[in-house]
């Protein structure tokens, strides 16, 4: 925190409508996979980080991951919040507000996130620290181990914030010009960049098949994996594959006719061939893949994949630096280390939007 004199006060967030599945999230556990606990964390890490940065938090701060239908929460005191992720309707009481911007809500008002379009998950961050239990240092859910972190109607969540009301209702957005590349989810078929996996060459013609086919996201998809219906081929004469660790984004072919792109809650693979690995820069988009979503693949080499990821990270650093300058100038509470950052041209697959 930058203002030594700033005082923290407690705000209560009362959940009125819980949505299908709303959880307290962060970016996941660090160093837990050596203990057999998946890192977990927000499925769309880009949107989660931007939501936190836009309200002056550190990227790793707890926030809400909202899936489906309608979610609403009433705040006991003024808050600075931001919603990112899937395009959706966001209201403060009955007043529509923008996504991908810092927004002010007064004491007693109701924030609603509803009617998601094109994507699957919304991220709602508040300036300050959300109160939550932690498991291995993180608030991210691990439902198998008994840490669900799910919010239900009637739940109250504490928020410790230094933010005090001093701006006009709803919009602080007009004060800033923040470089936020907003992912474009409107394409009818999403293209996921993918690099070779260890068994790509063992499955004859799989590269051509995946690049020329359209797959449909199945409704059993979750944080463990996005399941894709569509044409697959199975390996011929592949020996036993001993269970081994797999990176997030690994594309495996199970015995059934589908592809599974493994997500952040995956564990060791049960010996299925891995025919590709989704680019790290594409993982946030996959976190927005709702059932019925159409997907195809584009093969790239690892060097290109790393370059795309670094581009995404550079934009986050730039945003972080700009938020810091703006918040400090305005006397708004802001956390985290200020870093210098340079933009490296237009962010791929995203259009820059001034908030």
């Amino acid at each position: 925190m930058t203002q030594g004199s700033a005082t923290t006060h407690r705000v209560t967030l009362d959940v009125l409508v819980p949505g299908w599945l709303t959880t307290i999230q962060d970016l996941g556990r660090r160093g837990s996979e050596r203990l057999g606990v998946a890192t977990g964390g927000a499925a769309d890490q880009y949107s989660a980080q931007v939501a936190n940065l836009l309200v002056g938090n550190e990227r790793t701060a707890p926030l809400l991951e909202i899936m489906g239908a309608e979610f609403s929460v009433q705040v006991s005191a003024g808050v600075l919040f931001s919603v990112t992720g899937t395009p959706a309707s966001v209201l403060v009481d009955d007043f529509p507000v923008d996504l991908w911007r810092p927004v002010f809500a007064a004491a007693g008002s109701v924030i609603t996130v509803a009617t998601p379009q094109d994507g699957l998950r919304s991220y709602l961050a508040f300036n300050g620290a959300l109160e939550s239990g932690r498991f291995l240092g993180s608030v991210a859910p691990d439902s198998r181990m008994g840490f669900p972190q799910q919010l239900r109607a009637g739940d109250s969540v504490g928020l410790d914030t230094e933010y005090t009301v001093f701006v006009q209702p709803y919009g602080v957005g007009t004060w800033f010009s923040l470089p936020v590349p907003v992912p474009d989810l409107s394409a009818p078929v999403w293209t996921i960049d993918v690099t070779d996996g260890p068994e790509t060459s063992a499955v004859d013609g799989i590269r051509e098949l995946m690049a020329s086919s359209t797959y449909t996201v199945g409704d059993k998809s979750d944080h463990i994996g996005v399941r894709l219906g569509g044409p697959v081929r199975h390996p011929q004469g592949l020996g036993e594959i001993v269970s081994h660790g797999v990176p997030i984004g690994a594309v495996e072919i199970p015995h059934s006719d589908e592809l599974i792109i493994l997500g952040r809650a995956r564990s060791l693979t049960a010996g299925y061939p891995i025919v590709g690995v989704a680019s790290s820069a594409a993982l946030s988009l996959l976190g927005q893949a709702a059932p019925g979503r159409k997907i195809t693949f584009r093969w790239i080499d690892p060097g290109e994949s790393i370059a795309l990821y670094r581009e995404q990270r550079r934009w986050l650093r730039l945003l972080e630096a700009r938020v810091h300058s703006a918040f400090e100038a305005a006397g708004l509470p802001v956390r985290g280390v200020r870093r210098s950052a340079r933009p490296g041209g237009a962010a791929p697959g995203a259009r820059a939007k001034s908030a």
Binding site: E33, R34, G36, M145, P198, V242, S243, G245, V246, Y309
Partner: protein, 247 residues
Amino acid sequence: MESTTVLESGVSLRIQPFGDSALMLDVLAEDRLVRQEATVRVRSSILLEVPFGVLDVVAGFESLLVEFDADRVEHEGVDQAVRLAVSLGFARSADATASGRVLEVPTLFGGEFGPDLEEVAAELDLTAAEVVDRFVDRPLTISLLGAAMAPMMHGVDLPADVSRTALPRTRVEGGSVMLAGSNAIISPFPGPTGWRVIGRTPLTICDIEHDPVVSYAPGDVLRFRAIERVEFESLAGAFLSSATALS
């Protein structure tokens, strides 16, 4: 990019890229037990001093996944750092991987708690009692923690490999003691599995409300002890710890 390094006579380490942010390390050797034990040592060599940019290490029985931050480092640099760590740590790790701690795991074998025991015995041409005797006679060292901190052990003393179930079970209970190949695992929580269930411990082995969450770590030895129904009931829900080891 692919490198192969000799660790010791007849044992080498192959390192390959796995996506844009990870390396796959495979230990190569004729004998499976040699591969598995060398994998444990490679793992501890890397964790002894985690190279810059490395985020985590996911252990398999014969391989390791090294995950790194591609914003800071790339495959070539991590490959070199890993080979350095292993060359410095591998010889030392021969002794360091064994903790000397022994935990006793009371287990009720067969029946409804071990529905696959009879079939496994038939597959191995043994009686159910012989399978249990051989299983409890050999203390097993934890080589890695699998999904949800499940202790996984290699080197079970049986005459042949145990096959997996043809169709995975959708749910086995927490505490299930299971076999596949020459490996054993205890499932800490209910869940689906393709492993063969031969028994169940009444002890809770992992509880996120408990401090510590588990009392075992790779390098510890689990000693299984066959119990009857009465003892199962009396121990139900107790937490596995070194204290229960002394019972």
